[in-house]
Amino acid sequence: MALTKVCGIETEYGIVVRGGDNNPVSASSMLINAYIAATNRDRGRIGWDFEDEQPANDARGFSLDESLAPEVETMLVNAVLTNGARYYVDHAHPEISTPEVTTAREALVWDRAAEEIVRASMGHVVSLLPEGGEIIIHKNNSDGKGNSYGCHENYLLARETPFGRLAGQITPHFVTRQVFCGAGKVGCELPGRPHDHVPYQLSQRADFFEEEIGLETTLKRPIVNTRDEPHADAQKYRRLHVIVGDANMSETATYLKVATTAVVLAMIEDDELGDDWLLGNPVAAIRQVSHDPTLRQTIMLRDGSRATALEVQFGLLERARKYEQSHGLACVGEAVAVDILDRWEAVLTGLESDPASVASQVDWVAKQRLVDGYAARHDVQPGSARLKAIDLQYHDLRPERCLALRAGLDTLVSADEVASAMTEPPTTTRAYFRGRCLQKYPDDVVAANWDSLVFDIGRDPLRRVPMMEPLRGTADHVGTLIDDSETARDLLDRLGQ
């Protein structure tokens, strides 16, 4: 049976500085430090521990030369939050990785919490800037000039799942899921094409994918990324590092993006999906689908036949219904399983009959409505910078500017739940242990990463507590233990450390 789909979302945010040092790296650091200072008050910042980072390992079974390995920037700001998330500077962007969770609904809650943490950071950083200065954050994936930054998802799979099967069978979903989780983009950024080659497309990211499979994440980006760094027991687990998605403003889109991907991965893990939807040319297809807001064009399948993106999605959904009958969907959370399949079907049916009918759920439809409406009202021609401004401002996280907040998008989670998730960890994974220890023993935790916590409890050497099992360290497992341990030393004694 498929493993519980432990998952998480990492988002790199766009950053603009008005007034003050225009360097995005120092601005990102300032933004994060302002948040840490405002929320931790007199406590020291707890740093990230790089001991177990191996981004050069390739899931196809080899390791890159160190000289070619993706860079791990150890000198930049890198903090761990009490909700179990990591808040740091990656390349020239502020980035938040949500804590590990077990359902798409939890992923949505902690992704929304990350958004609110960034919003709060924008408020806190103002006092550090010259009079009238501000740092503006966008939750998007491209600047419209050929520069892209990612929103990655991560899913836990059994190590024995053959990587070749996984890469082949997940690709049709990655190419076609953009019909409901594309964030929408004015213009085209395909190398060598003019900006108005496509006036409006489904996805922020599709133009940037040049390979089917590979280790890169910053250039020649592959649809399936092979980074083999499970942040867990490598004998038992894989982590699929998904780099092909857009950052979503729509809660429904974030939820469905994670939920449907988890379901398709479970089917692949149990070898219940099969090869029916394998694609002939995935790189061409991901662009074709993104460039066609009519959703009518077909893409080529490996057997030479053709199907629309919606037909592929309906095919995957039909398989998922059968899989639910035969295997159940406990692996993606019993409580949300039926909701996932029903919402998936509803959004596909809506897109098939009239995309405008899902404007409250799908980002690219919501944004297109604003862009087209504005163009008609002001008689603005395609290609105008004012339409691109609407695109950018859809993702602007300043509440007084954000167009997504005004677009009538449905909400799936409450403001209270999101506010709580800014400081509280999920209860269902090891993130609970990480978050609770940071809350209760902040002076004794000297470093943290995904799979360990390092304590300093005085004269003894530093103590590393390994967390190689993502589903251990939950509230059920260690809640009482932490409640009963007044000090970190008590806790370590009880853990037998």
Binding site: V16, D143, Y149, G150, G373, R386, A389, A407
Partner: protein, 65 residues
Amino acid sequence: MAERTQKPKSTTGREADTTAEATPAVTETGEKLKAELDDLLDEIDEVLETNAEDFVKSYVQKGGQ
């Protein structure tokens, strides 16, 4: 009270006019959507960056992952 007396009146009106029922309903939804969009566009006119074109031009990011 005014509402109560109003309600049966409109129901009677509908029943009497069954042949034309489908068209007004569609127009009604369409008009509601259009009104919503108009309100939304009014709001966008208010909050859109005043120098939208400069904002777009100066929005340059370093590539990330």
